[in-house]
């Protein structure tokens, strides 16, 4: 969907496994998506679908037993001087190597879900902020301090000079998340990964943080990968949406198409399960039946088939859907319903079921 000129990050066929004592857990089973320069991509899905693991892969900092076994993550670095782009294969860089560390926190930054625990309790806010600044920029202590105060002011923290000397436990959750954003943005990254940054905050603070992120995105024109399970947040924040289910992206398209013309039954089911104020009667909230299966026992065929309302017996549990491009290159879906060749073989789902 995106031409290479405008792509900042491309994830292709990413398989990540966790080798645990109780067996191999296939957390990612072929994730494909791309992020456009200056755009916000929302990554949506239920808990356990691999959103956070994808983020860890992009940062190249998987925890101990995790390995990328297949696939490629390409980061397109643009030289601001001659606007040439250079493709960097993140998956080929050693996780602890110098090249990766020069990208991490500098060009690709990340903020986390739990602001209460993402700052080290024994160091001041300033010390952790300066840590990032002095690591990636060659500045004197005084300059570093000015950049730090500037960064805190940018995220609308009052009295940034005072916050600089504060310890994390002296700040509220919202303030801490602002500090995390300040740290992430202090080195002017081109791509920010936000892993459910507002999930742990109360609704008012959540709205403020989202507004702030939106404003900062417009100002800096960085790209954001916004991981969330909240479709309301997606509608507010994102330009594009990738919907994940059990370690695969099942649909990727722009935000309007996601909400108005979703193709994949899972996306549709997710949208149906949003509570609406307009439904005046006492109708029950739509839910997706069943639960996300354990990633160690992935269903055969299309992994969503046991829960899919449009499941075609005899087809969905045997055929693994490939990525299909619909809607004039705008929409990518992994669902057999749109596989014309396969569907033509069986003129209708019912006929196919009867033929069996």
């Amino acid at each position: 969907m995106a031409d290479k000129q405008n792509t900042i990050l491309q994830v292709q066929n990413l398989h990540t496994h966790f080798f645990t004592e109780s067996g191999v857990i296939r957390a990612l089973r072929g994730v494909d998506f791309s992020v456009e320069r200056g755009k916000v991509l929302g990554v949506v899905g239920e808990s356990g679908c691999g959103k956070s693991v994808t983020a860890q892969c992009i940062m190249n900092m998987l925890p101990g037993s995790g390995r990328i076994v297949e696939g490629k993550i390409t980061y397109y670095r643009r030289d601001s001087a001659d606007s040439r782009t250079e493709a960097i294969d993140i998956t080929s860089l050693p996780p602890r190597g110098r090249a990766m560390r020069a990208i991490r926190g500098n060009e690709i930054a990340m903020i986390f879900q739990e602001p209460m625990t993402s700052l080290d309790p024994v160091y001041t806010v300033g010390s952790q902020l300066m840590e990032a600044i002095t690591l990636h920029q060659t500045v004197t202590r005084q300059q570093g301090k000015e950049i730090a105060i500037d960064a805190l002011a940018k995220v609308n923290l009052p009295e940034p000079a005072r916050i600089l000397d504060a310890y994390p436990h002296q700040l509220s959750g919202g303030q801490r998340q602002r500090v995390m954003i300040a740290i992430a943005l202090s080195c002017n990254p081109t791509l920010l990964i936000a892993d459910e940054p507002t999930t742990a905050l109360d609704v008012t603070t959540q709205a403020q943080i989202l507004d702030l992120m939106r404003a900062l995105q417009e100002e800096t024109q960085m790209s954001i990968i916004f991981i969330t399970h909240d479709l309301g947040v997606v509608a507010e924040m994102c330009d594009d949406v990738a919907v994940m289910y059990l370690g695969k992206v099942v649909e990727q398209t722009d935000v309007d198409t996601t909400f108005h013309n979703p193709k994949h039954p899972y996306t549709r089911a997710l949208l149906r399960s949003i509570p609406r104020l307009t439904s005046d009667d006492k109708s029950r909230l739509n839910v997706i039946k069943g639960r996300v299966p354990d990633p160690s026992v992935v269903p055969s065929g299309c992994a969503f088939h046991p829960r899919c309302p449009e499941m075609i017996p005899g087809l969905c549990e045997t055929h693994t859907p490939e990525v299909l491009t619909l809607n004039g290159n705008k929409q990518q879906v992994r669902c057999l319903l749109y596989d014309d060749k396969l569907m033509a073989k069986s003129s209708s789902p019912i006929a196919l079921a009867e033929a069996r």
Binding site: M59, M61, P63, G64, R96, R101, A102, I103, R104, G105, N106, A109, M110, F112, Q113, E114, T117, S118, L119, D120, P121, V122, Y123, T124, Q128, E131, A132, L135, H136, Y167, H169, Q170, M180, I183
Partner: protein
């Protein structure tokens, strides 16, 4: 911070006063006054004690006066450095214990250093290489160190030193230096002997401390702030040392405070087996012989060390962790 310090200090003083109550109560538990015990002991040895001496003792410890006066005499003696008299040795307690306390403190301090210097790095290595070969080896060796009894290890070491290297490792000095005045040669001689108790007592402690360090660090390594530090692009050693280890040291500082009494109590069994001039054997015999003032002094000293250790640990914790400072 000053308020915190003062409050902790007050707690410490209060606890010490309570401990002195209990200590006094315990040394008065054996039936009969100690004068009678003393008299009986002397009679057993065939000497009669002069009435005048008994009277002097009675006056010194205010035995003819109510209990609280006796307590006051005893407790205020501690402040003046007068711990009473050992009837077993017929000497002042303070003359008996100082030298032994010194040796015990030297051995214990060496042991403490040995334990920490060995255990902390191995613990860090084991945690950062969980379930790898190094971690498994450290676990097995640690478990062995924990489960082999001290005295057993001491005996084995003595035999090996004697048979293989041909020198005696019992005691703290070679014979010619025992009564010699302190000199560099005597100090070197001490170093030649001290490694055995340090190694023996330290092994068990090292194993335990290593496991604690490993466990703590594993917990901390899963914390989001460690991930966040990595995400900032910090190098792995810096992430581990600056962010993970500093937070993982927390419970160990508490443990350090608790282990302070061992500086004067020493390891009893090891001291007996190796024939070390430490306080452990003396304390043990004082308890057996109902040598009340000697036993009482040890009791109060041990409890006092625990309290002081906790006080120091509190101060250290406040320095390490800002959350405690502002409580």
């Amino acid at each position: 911070m000053v308020a915190y310090f003062l409050r902790r200090f007050l707690y410490m003083i209060t606890t010490m006063i309570f401990i002195s109550f209990i200590g006094f109560f315990i040394i008065n538990l054996p039936p009969g006054s100690f004068i009678e015990v003393y008299q009986a002991q002397r009679e057993n040895m065939g000497t009669r004690t002069a009435e005048a001496e008994l009277e002097a003792l009675k006056r010194r410890y205010a035995l003819d006066q109510p209990l609280y006066v006796q307590y006051w005499k005893w407790a205020s003696g501690f402040v003046r450095g007068d711990f009473g008299r050992s009837f077993q040795y017929n000497r002042e307690v303070k003359d008996l214990i100082w030298e032994r306390l010194g040796f015990t403190a030297i051995i214990a301090t060496f042991t403490l250093f040995f334990t920490w210097m060995v255990a902390i790095p191995i613990g860090i290595y084991a945690a950062t290489h969980q379930y790898k070969i190094g971690d498994n080896v450290a676990t097995v060796v640690g478990m062995a160190g924990l489960s082999i009894p001290d005295f057993m290890l001491a005996l084995v070491l003595m035999v090996i030193a004697q048979r293989v290297f041909g020198f005696s490792v019992g005691g703290l000095f070679s014979r010619e230096y025992i009564d010699a005045p302190w000199s560099i040669a005597k100090f070197i001689d001490m170093l030649k002997h001290i490694w055995v108790p340090v190694f023996v007592v330290g092994t068990a402690g090292t194993a335990g401390l290593m496991r604690i360090m490993r466990g703590n660090l594993l917990d901390i390594l899963n914390m989001q702030y460690v991930q966040a530090a990595r995400a900032r692009g910090l190098s792995e050693p810096l992430v581990i040392v600056k962010h993970a280890v500093r937070n993982a040291l927390h419970p160990l500082i508490m443990l350090l405070g608790m282990s302070l009494p061992s500086i004067i109590s020493g390891s009893l069994v090891v001291s007996i087996v190796l024939g070390l001039p430490t306080t452990g054997p003396l304390y043990f015999s004082a308890l057996r012989q109902q040598d009340m003032f000697l036993a009482g002094t040890f009791l109060v000293f041990l409890a006092g060390m625990l309290v002081v250790g906790n006080f120091l640990a509190d101060i250290l914790l406040a320095l390490v962790d800002p959350r405690i400072r502002y409580e």
